[in-house]
Symmetry: C2
Subunit: 367 residues, 2 copies
């Protein structure tokens, strides 16, 4: 374990001298800040599968470097090992569309290189380009989403704008700025008062552990709540806006996101609270008609039965919370039907969660 | 701490020889089975406030014995100390209506005794009567609710009936059988296959810790899920019926229950899944017009920030899951509007969640 004293290290960064990818092992947050170095396809697969890195854009970026390692390994030969490595990386997790998208993109760029000797370098450039493009998308999502927050702030006359978010679609899910958090960071950067309700997001507590941590580091006022609480807060008028991310949005605007997102969308709908999804276009699956078609990952039941944190002596530990004889089921994502989505905040602006509106922003020849 | 080897001890029982009330200290479940003896008003208040006992009917029964201790203490004199004790017990927790109802009932019965010397005995009898009446109500709720399960079972031709429940409205919330669980126990007792989806129920995990434990003890198949998962299960057709309890239902049929209940009601509504609330009439607040009038308890944030269980060495421990600098808000209950409630399962049968329907079952002169 490599703990770092950096205050706010990047989620992912290519280390040219070390010829390795540095990522935060997010499993230790918020308790330890651990940076690991990845140097092979297998290490990338482990980091994605074991959720050292998570969040659709960050998974995609990490996978892109995995594809580079495959080309580097083969010395640029387009052999069976390269193809197998690509498949292996794409299979590391099933739901986030960015994973397959990024690997396919790097593979394509490498194969288009003029010679075998150039392929690994082309793959690395393609991975760098994905990182740069995701960062740019976060920035633009932030600018478009900022207008929503600014409009509410103008109506609230100095009262903070209360934004509820689920899971972590924050900087830790991306290269920086996040998707759902990008409008929040940009708003606070411009002096708009924002307060964030952070769903703890069982079973892995990405809200309590990651979103709360990164908002703390960047000085954004926030309050952690259990996932059960959001409906009550909306009934009481304590939520002005919901912004979440997505692991995959299908072409009709159905939003696949962390389990429990759907329940918040229902509550927002029932209480007239705007419900927005912030997403880079890399999270749109144009090949899928509806969210019902997307494979929903089921994960090990131990994620529910054992909760990880710092124990009473301040040491990392986990506690068992269910009786030994009880079964557990662990569905990682759910589908929020497009009809409950007020709008999609993309890098090309805010659009309706409909096929027509998405097509207008992202024409077939310009995706 | 008094661990017991009893397999399935009562949640509450009067010990005549010891002149004390024996209750399970439910804070240790599912890890330890601890039975404690209560002998004073103050001990009763602590047991209710610290949630050794919880669940509206069980809180009411425990409080009733608290009121008895007050009369015993005063030697039957209706002095300021008795009145103060009654107020103190009623203030132990704010949301469950059974608490005030039970204390008021015992006070009334004691005051109607023919002499000071008879008052303590009258109070004790009244407390016993409350216990007997609650048990009878659970039995009848079970019989009425059983018809719902049996009807679904008949349509499923041998497939188990999937019931989702939230929090613990089980035998541990009552004298025995529970409210929401009573139909389940009676159905399984008659050989109907039932499988229960158990919401873990953050922040105190009464589902994971209590409902799962008591279903295990009585051999009812069940699966623990995070609170986020219920909507997804309903979308996938994996829930036939939702049954929950209530801490207080107002005369229009609004249901105040554990935080998160409202979100499950919304999901049930969205997916055409019947949503029932099982309640003894002692949980109906005839004095309140709507759920919006009910005080919603907020509890200490440490309930969210620290999760209790057995650590990796098998010892009771707790782990901190949020960063030290983050705020926490802990709302204990929410209000499910009557329009999302398919029906109320009472001891007098199943009725609509409307003032008219409730009044028809419980006329003013027969409550």
């Amino acid at each position: 374990m490599n703990e770092t004293t950096e205050l706010d290290p990047p989620t992912i960064v290519w280390d040219d001298q070390g010829a390795c990818l540095r990522v935060i092992d997010q499993r230790w947050l918020p308790h330890r800040l651990v940076v690991e170095r990845l140097r092979s396809v297998d290490q990338v697969v482990v980091a994605i599968r074991q959720m050292w890195v998570r969040g659709a854009p960050l998974i995609g970026a990490t996978a892109a470097y995995g594809a580079y390692f495959a080309w580097q390994n083969s010395g640029g030969r387009d052999d069976a090992a390269v193809a197998a490595a690509a498949l292996k990386i794409k299979a590391a997790r099933p739901t986030a569309i960015n994973l397959a998208w990024a690997v396919d993109h790097v593979m394509r760029q490498a194969r288009e290189a003029s010679s075998e000797g150039d392929r690994a370098a082309a793959a690395l450039r393609a991975a760098h380009d994905i990182v740069a493009a995701e960062l740019e998308r976060s920035q633009r999502i932030g600018e478009h989403g900022l207008t929503l927050i600014a409009d509410i702030a103008a109506r609230k006359h100095g009262e903070p704008v209360n934004v509820l978010t689920h899971c972590n679609a924050g900087r830790l899910a991306t290269i920086d700025l996040g998707t759902a958090t990008a409008p929040i960071y940009l708003a606070t950067g411009r002096g708009i008062l924002v307060h964030v309700w952070v769903d703890e997001t069982r079973p892995r507590n990405q809200g309590a552990g990651l979103t709360a941590w990164e908002l703390s580091r960047r000085g954004v006022p926030h309050t952690v709540i259990v996932d059960n609480a959001g409906g009550h807060l909306m009934q009481k008028g304590l939520v002005d806006l919901v912004i979440v991310g997505t692991d995959r949005t299908t072409r009709n605007g159905d939003v696949v996101n962390k389990i429990g997102t759907y329940l918040k969308a229902l509550a927002a709908h029932d209480n007239g609270v705007p419900f927005y999804v912030a997403l880079p276009s890399s999270s749109i699956d144009w090949s899928m008609a509806t969210g019902g078609d997307v494979p929903i990952e089921t994960r090990d039941g131990s994620e529910i039965g054992r909760v990880f944190g710092l124990d009473e002596s301040g040491k990392p530990n986990s506690v068992q919370i269910i009786p030994p004889g009880s079964d557990v089921a662990n569905y990682a994502f759910d589908v929020t039907p497009a009809r409950y989505v007020t709008g999609l905040i993309t890098e090309r602006g805010i659009c309706d969660a409909t096929e027509q509106s998405l097509n207008a922003r992202f024409p077939v020849n310009d995706r």
